[in-house]
Structures are given as structure tokens and as C-alpha cells.
Amino acid sequence: MKTFLILGAGTGGTMVANKMADALDPQEWRIIIVDKDQMHYYQPGFLFIPFGIYRPEDIVKPKRNLLPKRVEVIFDDIELIEPDKNKVTLLDKKTINYDYLVIATGSYIYPDETPGLRDGWHKNIFDFYTPAGAAKLYQFLETWQGGRFVLNVTEMPIKCPVAPLEFMMLADWFFQMRGIRNKVELVYATPLPGAFTKPVCSTMLAGVLKTKNITVHPEFNIMEVDNNKQVIRSYDETEVPYDVLVSIPLNKGAEVIKHSGMGDSLNFIPTNKTTLQSEKWQNVFIIGDAGNVPTSKAGSVVHFMLDILVENILSHMKGQEMRAAFDGHANCYIETGFNKAVLIDFNYEIEPLPGTFPLPGVGPFTLLGESVVNHWGKLAFKWIYWNILLKGLDIPTVHSHMSMSGKKPVPAIINS
């Protein structure tokens, strides 16, 4: 019996388990999946918790329920991965020898890497990238009467790179609904040169933050938090004062990746951006945030990677050339408040373009424009995630590769 091992039972790991359970002969292959947590959170829901739109219990299910019966599920931490020996050791010292390995260990926040960030942690400094952080922020905002509200992104890449923008726009909506918007100053401090960096996005969305009276501090590279003075300080000594700080801390891959000597300085694993095979080990493939492919770390990307990854693994198993090619496709909703959202669809080569998605004309979703339909699409997506995406099923008319169908090409926009 051969062993197909998956590390991580989040979005990517669950999808791979479901696909491989169908594809691999149970007489020939054992499929094992390992994860340290028993509960699966729908991470796009974290954004809504601080604003009371979801509660943590609305967006969680037991992992075991989402995995096929033939897959052996082990709940334990991973101590060491030894890809030269095709072996993984778990915290309880159990070892698993594998024939093929898929790493789906994801990306995490590391607040301890920024000096001073923990000083007011979950008191006046919050994250919303964990259920606990998002829930604490919800409690805090229930009674907060206003002041300087700063969101800071520590460093890129982060998972869900549009979440900071969504958060600020939802905050504007939230404080308006509460009737205290005029008592709140909203500031977004980012290391990027602007809130929007792609040419077409910048042209089409630049006014959105200004209309919502959100101040942007670009090129802010945070060095430390001074919670006594209540400022964040950058490497060039610029200070941005806050009353409450929402931080997207440094994002890195899992510690075990570092421990195993498999990652770069952010613990992300060098991955072939086309085949999704490890750059170093032939029988190791990477899906989702754990890799270093040059597209966004997002759930939609994982979905679009899936079919390509599975096809390539099956080809490799048969000694055939891997022909499936991932194009970096990502598709992300950006909540803009007031029951509206923007949708963007892009890949390695093509930046987000306006138009309709997935069908030309009919849509129903609008690319690079706000619409109520987009917002309902984002909310409806939760059902699609649990019932379709995680099972490895396809969404009709939405393909792994980004399509230009429905999109307006760039020269048309510049000349219009």
C-alpha cells in the first residue's frame, strides 16, 4: 500500500483530500491528512465578526465532517518534515512515510515579530485574522465612543490582501450606522505605495476611499508599536498616533516549515508557479498559502489551483509529463459597506479589469464596480464554500484559468 499524505486540513488540504479520495484506488493507496486543529473556520467570515454581521459560531464546522470517510484523519501537530527521507514526524513522535506529499499548512499571523504589538493586545490593539481577535474587537467596538482608528499592515505578502481595505470600508459603514462616524478618524497605514497599486484599479477605485473619508498613509513600514505614547513608528521615524490599532501582523508560513528547512525567510515553500510542484522535491506539491507563488494568498486561488495540482500529481504518478499549468487566477470580493461590494478577477499576467463575471453582459457580478449583487454574492459564497468548493466540485461557468470573457481590455478604458 502506498501513502498519500496531506499536511493541513484547511481549505486546500480538504479540497485535495476530497479529490484524491475519488482519484486514487483504495486498494493501492492510503490517504492520510494531518491537522493540529479539529475545527474548520470559514476565514472570509472573520472580517464580519467585529461588525456584528457574523458570530464565530456561524462560520465553523468540525473538520472531520468535511473529509471523506476513506481518508485517515490525524489531529496532531507536525514536528518535522524530512522530504529527503519521505518522512513526517508528528508531535506524539508517530512517523508517517509517504510516497507523495501535499503541503497545505497555510499562513499565520506572528504579532510577536513587531516590537510592542503585544503590549495592548486585545485591549486597544486587535487583529481580525483569528476568531479570538475578531471576537475581542467586536466586544471592544460595542462600547467604543470614537477616536483615532488606525489599521496597519505590517508587511506584504499577507493572506487575503484586500481584507484591510474591506475592513476600513466596513468600519466607515459601521460607525455611520452607529451615528458616531463624525467622532471617528479612519486611517489606513500600509507599506505599499498606495491603497491601490495596479493602474486600472487605481483609476477606477481611487475615489472610493476618499469619498468614505479614509486617510491613507502609504509607504509606512512599521518598526515598532509604542503603546505608551499610542503611536506606530516606522523605520524612517514617522509616527502615526492611534486610540485603537487594528494590526495585520507579519504573515509567515507554519513554524514546522522553518524547522524542517523547507521555506524562505517567511516560511513559504519555494513552489513552481506553473506546476505547483516543490522546486526541490519531486514528490512534494504545495497548495494555497503555504507556497510562494506570485499571486494572492486567497481561498479562490486555492480553488483554481486544485484541478491543476491534482492533474499534475496524477500525471507524475504515471511517469508522464505534467501538462496542467496554473495561471495565478484569483477572484476576490471587496466589501465596500452599505450592502455593496466590488469583485476583482485577475491572474499572474493580467491585472484586475472592469466588466462582468462570469458571463459577458449578464454577469451577474460587476468587476471593478460596486454593486449590491456583488455583496450578496460574497455572503452567498459561504454556502458555496462548505457545500461545493471544499468537496472539490466545480462552480458552473467559472474555470480554473482566468477568462477574458466579459472583461473590457485596458486600451478601451484608457481611451474612454
Binding site: 508587511e155 506584504m156 505605495p193 495596479k198 513600514n221 523605520y235 494572492s296 484586475p352
Partner: protein
């Protein structure tokens, strides 16, 4: 008065070179001056050369972390060599595109 070398080269509204093939070391010196760096020392050049190599290999401007890891200097040192937003500054001087996110 704009230095002669710069007038022949086209820049976008933010000061990034449009035709990257026009880059020369002399041009880098002029762009650096415009960016407030009067002299490019050996340390500056080590970083510029590293960034150009990364740009050629990956098609993208390196991140601050790519630079500090690749060269072996601290973030503070990098900021002292290229004050106020080194990622963007070095990208301009090295004739690379500006650092971008996904949106």
C-alpha cells in the same frame, strides 16, 4: 535644471522609467540625485545591483525583506542608505517597476 542624461529618458507620473532598457549606471546616479541621494556609495551599488538581478530573474522589484535577506543588512541600515520608502526609491534608481500589490 534637469541633468542632460535625464531629458532623453521618459518617466511615468511617479518617476519610474517607462523604457527599462534605457537604464545605465550614469542614469542611476542622476535619478538618485533627484531622489535626494547625492552620492551612490559602494553599499548603494551593492543594493542596486542586487535589485537589478532580482528584477531580471523574477520580473518584479524585490521587497525590503528580499533586499535585507539577500544582501545581509538590517532594515535600519537599508533605510539609512535610501531614506523614506527604500522599496520605491531603489526601484526607481535601479530602473525597475514600482512595488505592487494585487489590487
Amino acid at each position: 535644471m534637469v541633468a542632460p542624461a535625464l531629458t532623453a529618458v521618459k518617466f511615468d507620473t511617479e518617476g519610474f522609467m517607462i523604457d527599462k532598457s534605457q537604464w545605465t549606471r550614469e542614469l542611476a546616479v542622476e535619478i538618485a540625485r533627484q531622489e535626494g541621494i547625492e552620492t551612490l556609495t559602494d553599499e548603494h551599488w551593492r543594493i542596486i545591483d542586487f535589485c537589478r538581478k532580482t528584477g531580471e530573474q523574477t520580473g518584479k522589484s524585490p521587497t525590503l525583506r528580499n533586499i535585507t535577506d539577500g544582501i545581509g543588512i538590517s532594515t535600519k541600515e537599508l533605510f539609512s542608505l535610501f531614506p523614506k520608502g527604500p522599496a520605491k526609491k531603489v526601484a526607481k534608481i535601479a530602473g525597475l517597476g514600482k512595488p505592487e500589490g494585487c489590487v
